[in-house]
Symmetry: C2
Subunit: 353 residues, 2 copies
DNA sequence: TTGTAGGCGTTATCAT
DNA sequence: ATGATAACGCCTACAA
C-alpha cells in the first residue's frame, strides 16, 4: 500500500476553496477572509498535509536549501582525533544562520575524484552554495557558479570573482609573532608549516614574516619544516626540525594546534621543557589547546561565525543578485597561555585590529 | 538579466533527440545507441546542463536527500567547549553513508518551540529522516512518520514503532563498573548524572546499578548528584557532592566526559589526587579524555558509526517499505586509562559483549 | 532505438 | 476575496 500522500487538491476540495486559496493561506499571503483562512487551516491540520518541497521549488524557484560543500577531512588513515573541528563548527554556524532564515543546510563532503559530481548534485538541489576552500577546483567552481550563487569560505584573502568570507590569518600570525618579539624578546624563531600550498598555512607564514621583518629580525623565505596539519605530522616535522638545526630556536611557531601538540610530545620525550627550553605557539584554539600541558598559546578563528556569515552573505545575494560583490574578513584573536612563556596564564584574549 | 537556466529541452533540441532520450542517457538507463549517447553527453557538457533536483524529485518521487534532525546543543550561554561533539560525529557518519549512496544530508537543529515547523519543513524536502532522540516530541514524530520513513537515533534501547539505532549505554556502564569493582576492588561509589530524564544518563545509571547490585554492593535509587552534561555542570555537581558527603567515595562514576573533566578540576583545586584520593570515570571518550591529566578512563560510543548505520537503515527502508522494523544496538567499549586507578595506561580497549 | 504525451504538486497570472 | 489554468523541468509508460 502506497503512502497516498495528501496534496493541496485534497485540502482545497475538503475546505471547498480552490488550490490557489490554499496556497495563499499557507504562505501567509493576502487575499482571503479570516473565515476562509480558519477553515483551510483546520482542514490542513485535520489531513496533516505538508506541502511538497519539490513542487514548491519547481513552481517558485526557491528550495529553501543552502548547500555547504567542504573537503573530506576524515579520510582513511587519519585517526579520529586528527579530524579537525573546523568544519564541524562551520556547519553549526551555517545551520544556525540558515535555520533562523527558514532554510535548511544540505551538506556534502567532496572526496577527491567524486567531488565534481557531488557538487553538481548538491547545486541542483540548493538555492545557493557555501563552498569551503579547496573542496573544489576553480573550473568546477566557475561552472557551478553560473547556475547558483556561491560564497567561498576561508581561503586566501583577496580572491575575486565570488563573495567570500575569510579569517584574518595573516593578521593573527602577525600579532602573535609581535607578542613573541616584543613581550618575550625572542629573536631566534622557527616555523612549522602545514601542507604545502595551503592558503591558511601560507597566510600564517606571511604574517609571521611580516612581524619578524618589521622588527628587523631576519626571516627565512621558507618554513623550517612542514607537516600535514595532523598531530602525527607535527611530530614528524618537529623531529626533522630538531635534526636539522645545530641548536634549539627560542620559539617554534606552528601553523596549527594539532601539529603543535604533536611537536610538544616530541619535546617532552626529549626531556626539553616548554617554555623553559623552547617556547611554542599554535593556531586555531581547538578545545585541546587549553588542556594540554603546557597550555598552548594560539590564535582563535571565529569558525562558527564564519559559517554564519557565509550563509548570511549567500542569503543576501539570493535576495539581490545584482548587488556588488562582498568579502568579509573576520578578525582573529590571540589567546595567551603558558607555552609562549607567559606566566600564570592570564587567559587574556587579545583582539587583532 | 535572469539566469536563463538551460533545461532538458535545450539539450534535446540541440542533440536532435527527444527529452525522453536525454533522460535515459543521463540516468544511465538503457535503450539508446552509443552514438546517440555520445552526442547527448557532448551537448550536455557544452551547455553545462544540470538536471533540476526539484523537477526530478517531483517526477520520480525521490529527492536524493536524507534529513537529519538533532536537538540544538549550542544554545545561548553554553560556552564553546561545552558544545558536545556527539552530533558532529553523527553528522559526519551520516554524511559519509549518504554520500556513498549518492544522497546528500539535510541538517537542521530543532530549537525549542520552532522545532515542529522546522521538522515538517525538512520532512517535505527529504526522502526520509534520521531523528536524534529528544529533538522532537512523540506526537510530532508520529505525524511526520506517516509521511516519510523515520529512523530514531540513540535514545533508550527498546523503543518501538520506528527503526532505531542506539549505543549500548547500559552495557558499557555495567562493564565499566564491574571493572571498578573487580579489578580495583572499590566498594564505595558515587554517581554524577546528566540532565534529569535524559535516556542516555538513565541508561548509564541503570548499568552502573546493575553491576553494583550484581556484586552485592548497595546501590542507591538515585544518582548522588546531577549536572547538565557540560564542564561547568560537572564542576557544580562535584561541589555539591563534596558538600553533601561526610567523606570521599572511593570512585566517582560520571555520566559523561565533559562533566568528569569539570569534576576533575574541582578535585585538583581541592588538592585531591586522582586516582590516589578518589578515582573517576567518564563516558563518551571525547578527544580531550586522552589528554587531560590524569587521562580519563571512559566508555566509547561509536558515534560516527551510529550516524552511518542510521542512514543505512533509512536507505533500506526507502528501498523496501514493507520490511520488518529493525533496531540496531551498537556495542560500546571501555577505555582504560589512569583516572580509574589503572597503572601505566595500557590504553586497552575492552569490548563489551 | 526513439518519440509522444500525461503527470508529479505547487505557485502565479489572469480573470471574475 | 476567490477561481481557472498555465507554467515549472523532469520521468515514464506507451507507441512507433
Amino acid at each position: 500500500m502506497l503512502p497516498e500522500v495528501t496534496t493541496i487538491y485534497d485540502v482545497a476540495r475538503r475546505s471547498k476553496v480552490s488550490t490557489a486559496t490554499v496556497s495563499r493561506v499557507v504562505r501567509g499571503g493576502t487575499g482571503y477572509s479570516a473565515a476562509t483562512r480558519d477553515r483551510v487551516l483546520a482542514v490542513i491540520d485535520e489531513l496533516g498535509w505538508v506541502p511538497s518541497g519539490a513542487a514548491r521549488q519547481l513552481a517558485s524557484r526557491r528550495a529553501g536549501i543552502i548547500g555547504l560543500l567542504f573537503p573530506d577531512l576524515l579520510t582513511s588513515d587519519s585517526s579520529e582525533e586528527d579530524s579537525p573541528l573546523f568544519v564541524d563548527q562551520v556547519i553549526r554556524g551555517a545551520e544556525r544562520a540558515a535555520t533562523s532564515a527558514g532554510d535548511a543546510v544540505l551538506i556534502a563532503a567532496t572526496r577527491q575524484a567524486s567531488g565534481r559530481q557531488l557538487a553538481f548534485s548538491v547545486a541542483s538541489k540548493a538555492d545557493g552554495l557555501v563552498v569551503v576552500a579547496r573542496s573544489l577546483s576553480q573550473a568546477d567552481l566557475a561552472s557551478i557558479a553560473d547556475r547558483v550563487p556561491i560564497v567561498v569560505l576561508a581561503g586566501r584573502v583577496g580572491r575575486r570573482k565570488f563573495d567570500y568570507v575569510a579569517a584574518d590569518n595573516r593578521g593573527g600570525a602577525r600579532t602573535l609573532t609581535s607578542h613573541l618579539l616584543e613581550v618575550h624578546g625572542y629573536r631566534d624563531f622557527a616555523f612549522i608549516a602545514g601542507l604545502g600550498g595551503s592558503p591558511d598555512s601560507d597566510e600564517r607564514f606571511a604574517g609571521y614574516r611580516e612581524a619578524l621583518t618589521g622588527a628587523g629580525v631576519a626571516a627565512p623565505e621558507k618554513p623550517d619544516a612542514e607537516g600535514d596539519f595532523t598531530e602525527t605530522g607535527g611530530r614528524r616535522a618537529m623531529e626533522t626540525l630538531l635534526a636539522s638545526r645545530p641548536r634549539l630556536p627560542q620559539v617554534v611557531v606552528v601553523a596549527n594546534d594539532q601539529m603543535a601538540i604533536g611537536a610538544l610530545a616530541v619535546l617532552r620525550a626529549g626531556r626539553l621543557r616548554v617554555p623553559g627550553d623552547v617556547a611554542m605557539t599554535g593556531f586555531d584554539d581547538i578545545a585541546l589547546a587549553r588542556h594540554v600541558r603546557p597550555a598552548l598559546t594560539t590564535v582563535r578563528q571565529p569558525m562558527r561565525e564564519m559559517g554564519e556569515v557565509s550563509v548570511r552573505l549567500l542569503l543576501e545575494r539570493l535576495a539581490n543578485s545584482e548587488a556588488p560583490r562582498q568579502s568579509v574578513v573576520l578578525p582573529t584573536s590571540v589567546v595567551l597561555r603558558r607555552s609562549c612563556g607567559c606566566q600564570d596564564p592570564p587567559s587574556v584574549v587579545q583582539d587583532v585590529a
